[in-house]
Symmetry: C2
Subunit: 116 residues, 2 copies
Amino acid sequence: MTNKPQFTTEVRRLANVAKALSHPVRIYILQKLSKMNSCCYSGDLVEELPVSRSTLSQHLKELKYAGLIQGEINPPYIKYCINRKNWEKAREIFNEFLNESSGEISCETTDYLIHK
Amino acid sequence: MTNKPQFTTEVRRLANVAKALSHPVRIYILQKLSKMNSCCYSGDLVEELPVSRSTLSQHLKELKYAGLIQGEINPPYIKYCINRKNWEKAREIFNEFLNESSGEISCETTDYLIHK
DNA sequence: TTTATATTTCGCAAAGTTACGAAATGATTT
DNA sequence: AAATCATTTCGTAACTTTGCGAAATATAAA
């Protein structure tokens, strides 16, 4: 009788953040917002991206749901900001995940997959 | 006539790696393999994960396709390894993406979304 | 109050992901 | 050659994601 364990919270969290980052539109938005030192953006993101307004809105919604951005209403405009607290958290768990590997190189690495 | 630009290679690369990382099974595998200083693992991964053999095989295939792991045949076993070169690359682009943000906190940040 | 502007939600279609069991593959042992 | 073992591929079902245009919402300006 095989033992089928569940994932740890850490593993699930990493996968969730990665999912939020797994689309070029969302990467673009995060890259833009995270670089802004004045914190918020209120320009027309749709002009810079190859998607329609409604599609963009959906991506923004997903990023909000994932907690990575915030929207501040200033009718009829909305300013988008990085959610610094959660962005920091995401950074931490990714840094840990990516940088905890043993730097050791061994086992004659090949550049390509042997398995066809 | 609105201008609809394409994504840069960097943005597309980031999204692709994030996609490869967007499932707990794949995070688990990468975490395990990247931590091993003996580079390879050929144990029965399926015993440690809540999925069937065929499903696991699909996830491994995806990670191979993304270039993050390699499989080394030693019939009838296969040893999986991190593809160190590409793992390092992924690390670099993620570190840049996550850490290039202005650390400045301003614009009275709120913890929750204002937009309902 | 009508019109204009910014944005989101709805409804839908197309495509992609995840999962499984069964069949196939490919090598080794009997 | 037959049985065995580790693994992958196939076929299929259920679900999720992505995308769009049209309709809805909500405010401001005329």
